[in-house]
Symmetry: C2
Subunit: 229 residues, 2 copies
């Protein structure tokens, strides 16, 4: 653990009524960066002191992180960070994505509004190449871009339930945690462009196929990084 935050909150307190979201973000980042290693206990009080808040908002943040799959709670034994995904789990997760994302891309091609098409192209244009730096932050930026793009495509398909189910897998979080440069290749950029091009051209079959290929490739990029299981 130890000092998750540069400055806890200092004597000049912040508004003190908007802490919980921040605690959530700080804790999530700490887990993703492996500042809190996988499968290790999370001491609620230590986190509270480290972040300069009390236990209650930490508890709330941990409850949310549990539903994100980043921690698990053991009754009367507190919270532990979850293990990294195994190869088996990566395969299972990507199989899930292969069931819903090609469907989403195909329907996005027929159902997306002009605004949604524009949003997709704007997202594509914001990352025309893989990050050049090698720092944590630029990889995280790219991972966020990746997550946004896949989310936008499902959103454009018009099915909010499926979009939400996808978002709740937090596949990008898990992939990022496994290796935070895993999605940052130029191949990823090219594949994204191909998918959005098919959607813009209203080519449902092509969009679904491009998405399926992209998922197969990203899975194969990720698998060697995971432990067997």
């Amino acid at each position: 653990m130890s000092s998750l935050l540069p400055e806890p909150s200092g004597p000049g307190r912040l508004s003190s009524r908007m802490v919980s979201i921040d605690v959530y973000g700080q804790l999530a980042t700490a887990i993703l960066r492996n500042d809190i290693p996988p499968a290790s206990r999370v001491n609620i009080n230590a986190v509270a002191v480290s972040l300069g808040v009390s236990a209650t908002p930490v508890r709330e943040a941990l409850a949310r992180l549990e539903s994100d799959g980043l921690v698990t709670q053991l009754h009367l034994k507190g919270y532990r960070t979850t293990d990294l995904l195994t190869q088996r789990e990566i395969r299972d997760l990507w199989q899930f994505r292969m069931l819903i994302e090609p469907y989403g891309a195909g329907h996005a091609a027929t159902a997306a509004s002009p605004d949604q098409i524009a949003a997709l192209e704007h997202e594509i244009n914001s990352f025309t190449s893989a990050p050049t730096g090698s720092d944590f932050d630029s990889y995280q930026d790219f991972s966020d871009h990746d997550a946004r793009l896949h989310g936008l495509i499902l959103e454009a398909s018009g099915n909010a339930i499926i979009t939400r189910a996808f978002e709740r897998t937090h596949c990008h979080l898990h992939a990022f945690r496994l290796a935070y440069n895993s999605s940052a290749g130029s191949a990823t950029v090219d594949e994204h462009i191909a998918i959005v091009d098919h959607i813009s051209a209203r080519d449902a079959a092509g969009a679904a196929e491009a998405m399926m290929e992209h998922l197969a490739n990203s899975r194969d990029r990720l698998l060697p990084l995971a432990k067997e299981g």
Copy 2:
């Protein structure tokens, strides 16, 4: 609100350190029974007093219920129960199920262990007919059976990620909340039997097809009960 529990906890306190799970269950039941109507505010303190506990375990339960989609939190405005699903959302949710459950049934037919087959058949045998009574509890029993069966099938497919994504949709909760006798027809029983028969016979294509039909039928049984949207 008003009296969610027959007896709060009284002066003879219960074990006092296993409360939160119970609070969760009591609240979930209260929402499902429409004791707390859809789209209404949930007063944390009132719930706490009603259940004879303090605010903290109620907050934890609400955090979990939020990830279940039964309540939503608005900052500084507290929690509200969510609306009932609209026809559109039912359709979207069942579309999601149609993407993953036929896949699950098909893979269960090839991948299920003998123990898992036995568990499926045991579950089938525990409800060979629709409930005869008209009370809340027997409908809930049947709804639970339905949820267990669909969960077992996905589990037998061997993909834990998909199983979890399915469980998190809480489709049975939402269906039950919409109308608690919606899944209790004898047609449902017959369709369940057909699916499990195909799985037991290791007939993947037949299992997938039977599941798809079952989902289409259950959706059509449910749709008239939902509001347009």
